[in-house]
């Protein structure tokens, strides 16, 4: 999937004393099956940009083209629809729902999608096999180790078979071993033909060999792009 951002800005609390220009006129093109890194210090606007790319929030101005169609001004429910079909999110803290099982956590994105229970189960089992957590299917997430939780979080991001996987500081709370493990899984995701966008300032991630492009951000603008 190709995503094109044209002159995108994001302003929080416009017109108020605490107005923040988080993204300032960013233009960007993300091609199919690319692994793109958004790199930059804290507060540089990575998360804001990532959530615009992932159709989670709308830019204050500018155009966001998903496969050639401008989605920047779509009503929320259509944005949700696109997000539901095309995007998978991996959060900084795994953000799994406590109190329910691994399987249920992974199934959640499919509930409002209108697919049948059989289909939901089939896809859930598929991603659980892929990430080797089937043996934990009926455990509650708080009974799992950090590494396993990470796999569950990735499985949940993949269950709707998205074209693009977005991750915000995925390794911030992981040790080196788990971070490497994470990169290995990202390379598998890339191998499956998906686009990956990662916001991070962890050298281990942006210096990895599977990264196609690194986009360097500061104060809401793109400083430079590198390989």
């Amino acid at each position: 999937m190709a995503i094109v951002l044209e002159d995108v800005t994001k302003i929080y609390n416009p017109g108020q004393p605490n107005e923040v220009h988080a993204v300032k006129g960013v233009s960007l093109r993300i091609g199919k099956n690319e692994v793109v890194i958004l790199k930059g210090p804290s507060g540089s606007g990575k998360t804001s940009l990532l959530s615009i790319i992932g159709c989670m929030s709308r830019p204050t101005s500018g155009r966001v083209l998903v496969n050639g169609r401008d989605v920047a001004k779509l009503p929320e429910r259509f944005l949700t629809e696109i997000r539901r079909q095309r995007c998978g999110f991996i959060f900084q803290q795994f953000n799994l729902l406590r109190g329910i099982t691994v399987k249920e956590n992974i199934m959640l994105p499919l509930y409002p999608a209108g697919v049948s229970l059989g289909e939901i189960k089939r896809r859930t089992e598929e991603v659980m096999d892929l990430l080797q957590i089937s043996h934990r299917a009926n455990f509650r997430v708080e009974q799992l180790s950090g590494g396993e939780q990470q796999r569950v979080a990735i499985a949940r991001a993949l269950v709707n078979d998205p074209e693009i996987v977005l991750a915000d500081e995925p390794t911030a709370h992981l040790d080196t071993h788990l971070s490497e493990e994470f990169l290995r899984m990202i390379s598998e995701i890339k191998g499956a033909g998906k686009t990956v966008v990662i916001a991070t300032h962890d050298p281990l991630v942006y210096e990895s060999s599977l990264v196609d492009r690194v986009i360097h951000m500061r104060d809401g603008i793109i400083l430079e792009e590198g390989q």
Partner: protein, 382 residues
């Protein structure tokens, strides 16, 4: 269609996960429905009892007004009334209230002639015999064969042998009743010869009742004819009014509850906010979240409604509404174990729905919208 079921299922699992928070709400909600359903069921059952009671009562009762109060009726009015076309017959009635100083209860004492004698298997009531209602039997600990002692106007205690007790299942009609022979009651209350407490009139054609009542009033200006439907109407408005009053007294409680519900719905825990944010980030729409919240409310309401109505039913029809006795029945101190006939109509259930579930759902609309508007960006940022 499927997605609604999945969202419902997830709403249920959410309720279970937050069971302590929801349990408090459920208990308060059920209690409220319990109270209101008890009021509605009891009123309705009492109205029903009154209706049944009046079915067997005379079409017209004639009283006499003297100085604006009702006084004893001369028995010779009977002849005047019987001469009105359409009247089958008229007969004097002897009855009164008796305050029992021993138990502090009020009895209704009624005189009967042998012809209308209600005891089966026996020809006649002896002058010293009485029949009592189950209420009287219970307060005085009396059984068949014991004696009921009543003090007459001169202060002389007179014993009456209990010849029978009306069964518990019969209604308000017999509960506080003491039946004596007509001559006995006349003597006991010292009713002067030629006078009765009131007259009852039987009418051939029910549609003529009102006309005949008017004619009686014309012929005997000091009389006060009361028709059966008039009494029924008075009873019904009395009950409606009472239950309306009691309901209004509970308005405070109702409001307090809905504010509580509002508060519960608004005060999302940090955990819950995070969950909603996560759900939205992974592809749930705000309307899906609102639907989830709607299901939560509906499930809670249904549970509370079921619990509340069932306990209300048990309270009113099996336990005799001990908690509402004084508030609603109110006309007599004596109401020990009146068993009401279980009658429930769709109407009562619908009124109950409007008084409880409708405001509850209304109170939770805005908070669940607020919750659904949680920004998913917040989640990835934290």
């Amino acid at each position: 269609m499927r997605r609604h079921l999945f969202i419902l299922e997830f709403a249920l699992s959410g309720l279970c996960r937050r069971r302590y928070k929801n349990l408090a709400l459920l208990v308060a909600y059920s209690l409220l429905i319990f109270i209101i359903s008890s009021i509605l069921f009891l009123t309705h059952a009492l109205k029903r009892e009154a209706e049944l009671l009046l079915q067997s009562s005379p079409e017209i009762t004639v009283q006499r007004l003297m100085a604006g109060r009702h006084a004893l009726v001369p028995v010779d009015w009977v002849d005047t009334i019987v001469s009105i076309p359409g009247v089958i017959d008229a007969s004097p009635r002897y009855w009164g209230y008796y305050y029992d100083p021993f138990t502090g209860a009020n009895f209704t004492v009624l005189g009967v002639r042998s012809s209308e004698f209600p005891l089966k298997g026996r020809e006649d009531l002896d002058p010293e015999d009485c029949l009592i209602g189950s209420g009287v039997s219970e307060t005085g600990l009396l059984r068949t064969g014991d004696s009921l002692v009543m003090v007459d106007p001169e202060g002389i205690a007179r014993p009456f042998r209990v010849a029978g007790v009306f069964s518990t299942s019969s209604s308000i009609l017999t509960n506080d009743l003491v039946v004596l022979k007509e001559e006995t009651i006349k003597r006991f209350f010292q009713i002067p010869e030629g006078y009765a407490v009131d007259l009852v009139v039987r009418v051939a054609n029910p549609s003529e009742i009102d006309t005949i009542a008017k004619k009686i009033k014309e012929k005997i200006p000091s009389s006060r004819p009361i028709t059966r439907t008039e009494i029924l109407r008075t009873y019904e408005s009395l009950f409606d009014w009472r239950s309306g009053m009691v309901l209004s007294m509970f308005i405070g409680a109702l409001l307090a509850f809905f504010i509580f519900a509002w508060d519960k719905a608004t005060g999302l825990s940090a955990e819950e906010r995070r969950e909603i944010g996560v759900l939205k980030a992974i592809g749930w729409d705000s309307s899906d979240i609102m639907e989830m919240k709607f299901w939560e409310g509906l499930v809670l309401s249904s549970l509370a409604y079921l619990t509340g109505t069932i306990t209300g039913f048990v309270h009113v029809f099996m336990l005799g509404a001990p908690l509402l006795e004084s508030a609603l029945k109110g006309w007599s101190v004596l109401f020990p174990s009146l068993k009401l006939r279980p009658v429930i109509e769709v109407y009562q259930l619908m009124v109950l729905l409007f008084l409880t579930v409708v405001p509850y759902m209304a109170a939770t609309i805005a908070p669940s919208w607020k919750a659904a508007m949680t920004d998913p960006e917040e989640v990835i940022r934290s």
